[in-house]
Symmetry: C2
Subunit: 344 residues, 2 copies
């Protein structure tokens, strides 16, 4: 089959790879209907050392079950399913606690002999725990929004949940990428009435307003911090959703959070240290978040997507076919596209 | 009156200072019955640049109300009261949220024209909000335990509360100083059944066991982390109470916390940066805690002290008179004393 291989920074190719086959009785093979490119894919796209063999990439997809192992129940060929961006058995103690990203028998896509998801098909380990039936057809108009349940929307939701967003909390979302916009939508869904979006790309912040942002702050750094404080009587917001992953964004987050408040970070942090100095300490700031256990949230979020109450798929502003995935990477890296949907 | 002045590292003196007088209608003047030396006082004792004028020090005391301003109600001369280590109006929005350390009209002892607490008497700003009546006499045997409500016990309690300690969480406490031991006692009081205390001073860890520690790990660094992981099936504990304030202790905390768990830090951090890298991020570790709003907790903790259910005053292993406070500092700095109680 055809699948995406990244050979180094700026070097993504579509190549022939072995067809996926059941290897364990807990596996399934799924034909991909929709996949997409993640902001986090842009980190290796920007910096991966060159290699001849390259590595598989992509961790978001929905598709049609083609075959299931003998230990997989509740799934059959023809089911349309979505997969979270970390696979998991969904039965171990961590999974039962809702932390499928730390599953004792789970792992990440594209690692070892596990397929990446930007390809024609995927062998899914721990299929029964990983895959969620969607109950829609292969050409349903909701597929883009359903695909966001794989990663970007639960990631925004995880950010809002761990930050403690509720109807009584004010919210700052830092970053107008697909994760930031998803965080706005998630915060709105959780009842937040004041959502300040920090971002400077008008097309994106316009979607942010549509998703629920009440204010947009294009300024960055100290100027941005001053602006958010101006908007909140000098105090900052109870919760801050850091959806960029770079150190200046974390510093901004600590600058706009209200005393006693919470900064949650999602995405893929590109820094090692966070400034948690005595001032932050005296203000009782909590730093939380992490990689989103998407699987834990799909059951809760799916009905709202199926009902059309939320349309997280609006973050996709470009669609390419699998063979054009390298173009999709370039467009996202150049900020010509917000998030790229991939069709077969 | 006589009071403690710190003139620089290692240079603490008892000197004559002006008698406290009411300055605002919200003030009270309190004669000090008991004060004490805090682990955090040892930071300036170790590093404060020398100065001829020096500065007042001490932030923990209980005493007898001598005089109250015209706006102070509910307190009268003769009442025995305890003061939290940050004064506050206890009515602003932050105070109502239980974050009196961020009070809009509050402040710290020994700053500006506010008295330090290692002295004969103290002018208490925002007295009605700050002081809590204890309902005991001036020579009550419970005074040492009641004095801990000023700082050290609520600090341990804040650490346990913000970490989310409950009967279902395992706990590691890092540090066998007075704050660490108070954190053990607080965790036990909150129902924790497994409390691992990391500390190497036997007299202190023995008190830790008495307070509720189920395991003691004297090893530090990687060896200590390995030991705690051994004790917890490789996973670490759900909550980690970091009661040291130095960077290696934070690194240990991140090393012994279970995936999805929480590290809470109290005391007075002597570091600026915390390693919150991608590994920590992938494990969904929360970093919380901060300076303890002791005032928020006194009403809840006081009955248990009065009933004798808990005896947090056991952290005092040395008593000095006010004129001997410099000796108390030396003994604490040299680890000859765990925590020094000061009598008039």
């Amino acid at each position: 089959m055809r699948a995406t291989i990244i050979h180094g920074a700026g070097d993504v190719r579509i190549e022939d790879v072995p067809d996926p086959k059941l290897q364990a009785p807990t596996d399934a093979v799924v034909r991909v209907l929709r996949s997409c490119i993640c902001g986090s894919d842009l980190w290796p796209y920007g910096s991966l050392p060159a290699s001849a063999e390259g590595q598989r990439i992509g961790h978001e997809f929905l598709g049609v079950v083609e075959e299931t192992g003998t230990d997989v129940s509740g799934l059959k060929a023809g089911d349309v399913v979505v997969a979270p961006f970390v696979w998991a058995d969904n039965t171990c103690d961590f999974c039962r606690e809702g932390l499928q990203t730390s599953c004792r028998h789970g792992g990440t896509w594209g690692a070892g002999d596990v397929d990446g998801c930007q390809g024609e098909a995927v062998r899914v380990p721990q299929a029964q725990g990983t895959l969620v039936k969607l109950g829609v057809g292969e050409d349903d108009a909701l597929l883009p929004s359903l695909l966001t349940l794989s990663d970007v929307f639960p990631t925004g939701h995880h950010c809002a949940v761990t930050a403690g967003v509720n109807p009584r909390t004010t919210v700052t979302v830092i970053g107008d990428g697909a994760v930031g916009l998803s965080a706005v939508l998630a915060a709105k869904r959780l009842g937040a009435e004041r959502i300040i979006l920090m971002g400077r790309h008008t097309a994106r912040t316009d979607l942010g307003r549509e998703f629920g942002a009440t204010d947009v702050v294009p300024e960055r750094g100290e100027e941005g911090i001053a602006k958010v404080r101006d908007l909140t009587g000098g105090d900052g917001t109870h919760t801050v959703l850091e959806c960029v992953g770079l150190e200046p964004a974390v510093d901004t987050a600590l600058g706009v959070v209200r005393d006693g408040g919470t900064v949650s970070r999602v995405g893929a942090p590109q820094y090692g240290q966070v400034s948690m100095d005595f001032g932050t300490f005296f203000r009782n700031i909590t730093l939380t978040g992490g990689v989103a256990p998407a699987r834990a949230y799909i059951d809760e979020l799916l009905p709202d997507v199926l009902d059309g109450k939320i349309q997280p798929g609006k973050v996709f502003d470009r669609t390419v076919e699998l063979e054009q995935v390298p173009t999709g990477y370039r467009e996202m890296a150049d900020r010509e596209a917000l998030k790229v949907l991939v069709t077969p």
